[in-house]
């Protein structure tokens, strides 16, 4: 599903986040990205979602060359990718359900159908009783679950999560990882950047370790 061949990303100023990375992730895989902060985990995820472009090399997602994709095609790529951010990136001027409905609005879904799907996914992350609340009133764990609900509402085949449990205490983190395991079991491809070793050992799955821009496979 995802192929990197000889991918290098150098930022203006000369910092090389990824150096000639080769990797391949199959459909339905659960992959953890580990490594100290600044090792290039976020960069790798951003390259998959075409938030950034590689300096050289080819990134392909679902057979499409993302690194050369024209600007106007990128929105349609992103609609098939669920993104979970460490800082949630919620919109604080609207309530919980409006945040979840946003991707469906963007894709032009019927309003009633959107609300139905949003409620279903809120139920799955345990926030159905908070649908009219505002994100400011949610705890960190709830905000993260809301972010996950928004990423999943359009039923993407691929979910990218950047430090989804980074700011959460152990109990919340375990909840969220359990949720990811459920999605993995229904066939969603997951790529999760984390340094939460407990989560990795709890869920199993493949682990890619990044160190100074190089990727190294860690056998479980």
């Amino acid at each position: 599903m995802i192929q990197f061949s000889q991918v290098t990303k150098r930022y203006p100023g000369g910092h090389e986040a990824l150096s000639a990375v080769n990797l391949s992730i199959d459909k339905g895989e659960l992959v953890f990205l580990t490594g100290h902060s600044g090792a290039g985990k976020s960069t790798l995820l951003k390259l998959i979602a075409a938030i950034e472009r590689p300096t050289s090399g080819v990134v392909s997602v679902n057979g499409q060359n993302v690194s050369r994709m024209p600007q106007r095609a990128i929105p349609y790529l992103r609609r098939n990718i669920g993104l979970v951010f460490q800082d949630h990136k919620l919109l604080f001027d609207r309530n919980v359900i409006e945040n979840v409905v946003l991707p469906l609005d963007i894709a032009g879904f019927d309003r009633r159908e959107s609300l139905k799907r949003a409620r279903a996914v809120l139920d799955k992350v345990g926030l159905l009783n908070r649908e009219k609340s505002h994100p400011v009133g949610l705890s960190g764990g709830e905000q993260q679950r809301l972010c996950i609900a928004r990423a999943l509402v359009s039923r993407p085949a691929l979910l990218l999560a950047d430090e989804p449990t980074g700011n959460l205490d152990a109990g919340y983190a375990a909840d969220i990882m359990a949720m990811f395991r459920d999605f993995h079991q229904v066939g969603t491809t997951l790529v999760i950047a984390t340094h939460d070793d407990r989560a990795i050992s709890a869920l199993g799955g493949r682990t890619l370790h990044l160190d100074h821009g190089k990727v190294e496979e860690i056998s479980a």
């Binding site: 990136k89 991707p103 963007i106």
Partner: protein
């Protein structure tokens, strides 16, 4: 409902919500636009009324021939004979008594005329010539003026012609002013939209990350601009109506002093539709010019 229509409807409701979310900003922008639109619109209405007044004036020119008070009877007969020639379409004699009494009646100057010990007005002929060209009229007026016993001639079309020329300048000025204020309108809308785009940079950023196209992001701003323009047009209507109401009595008073029933004509439905349509268009245009530029700035700042 197709996806396209759904997107339009969604953008429209979003735009409405955004305008309502900041009522004070919306009101101020609406007022600024209203004032900008009302100036050319108001002048247009005043000019339209004046044009109608000018249209009521005799379109066919008249020459007034004033006789010398000391003109002899043979001189008067010669003049009467001259006025029967082919280049005169119609000639009407107005004696000084008639002139005085009509002056007393029509312009409410009876106090003055009653106080006169003798009639200062001359006998006159009001002539409608065959010729209608300016040169022909001037020549005829000169010829008639040289007849013995004629004190003076007056080409009555001059006043109307001058008014027409003045109104033409007025019309041009309205267009000029209208174009200038159209730019002001576009600039006002553009500035307001720019502020909105900047205020929503987080939302724009997040929307892009979850698959929003440029068009999806731009659309509500375009609707906001158009709606803002429409509101500006409505405000202009209010300003013009208020001005018309305030000016009604003074204008009626002035007109009565001239013995006229002149009044300002209210705008027609088409006038109103055109002003609202143009205001909407320019609001949209300002938003369109501003949103793409600002979006590029917002995107490159990430």
């Amino acid at each position: 409902m197709t996806g396209w229509l759904r997107h339009q409807k969604h953008a429209l409701t979003t735009a409405l919500k955004r305008l309502l979310a900041f009522p004070l900003a919306t009101i101020f922008t609406t007022l600024a636009m209203g004032v900008a639109i009302s100036l050319p619109s108001g002048l247009y209405l005043i000019l339209g009324s004046l044009n109608q007044l000018a249209g009521d004036l005799p379109t066919r020119p008249e020459i007034s021939l004033f006789l010398d008070a000391n003109a002899s009877a043979p001189q008067k007969q010669a003049i009467t004979a001259r006025l029967k020639q082919a280049d005169i379409a119609q000639a009407r004699y107005v004696s000084k008594e008639q002139a005085l009494s009509s002056l007393g009646q029509t312009q409410d100057l009876s106090d003055i005329t009653a106080g006169l010990t003798e009639n200062p007005l001359p006998d006159a002929w009001v002539i409608r010539p065959q010729a209608s060209s300016r040169d022909g009229l001037t020549r005829l007026a000169n010829d008639l003026g040289k007849l013995p016993g004629v004190a003076d001639t007056h080409l009555d079309s001059q006043w109307a012609a001058r008014l027409q020329a003045a109104l033409a300048i007025g019309t041009t000025s309205v267009w000029l002013l209208g174009s200038l204020f159209a730019f002001a309108l576009i600039a006002t809308s553009g500035t307001a939209i720019r502020a909105q785009v900047l205020a929503r940079r987080d939302e724009i950023h997040v929307s892009r990350l979850i698959g929003a196209t440029n068009r999806y992001i731009r659309r509500p701003f375009l609707y906001t601009g158009a709606l803002q323009g429409l509101l500006g047009g409505v405000a202009a209507g209010g300003v013009v109506a208020l001005a018309g109401w305030v000016l009604r009595a003074p204008i009626a008073h002035l007109a009565s002093l001239y013995g006229s029933t002149f009044h300002l004509h209210p705008p027609t439905t088409i006038d109103i539709a055109v002003v609202l349509g143009l205001a909407t268009l320019f609001g949209w245009l300002g938003a369109w010019l501003s949103v793409s530029r600002t979006l590029r700035q917002v995107d490159s700042s990430r």
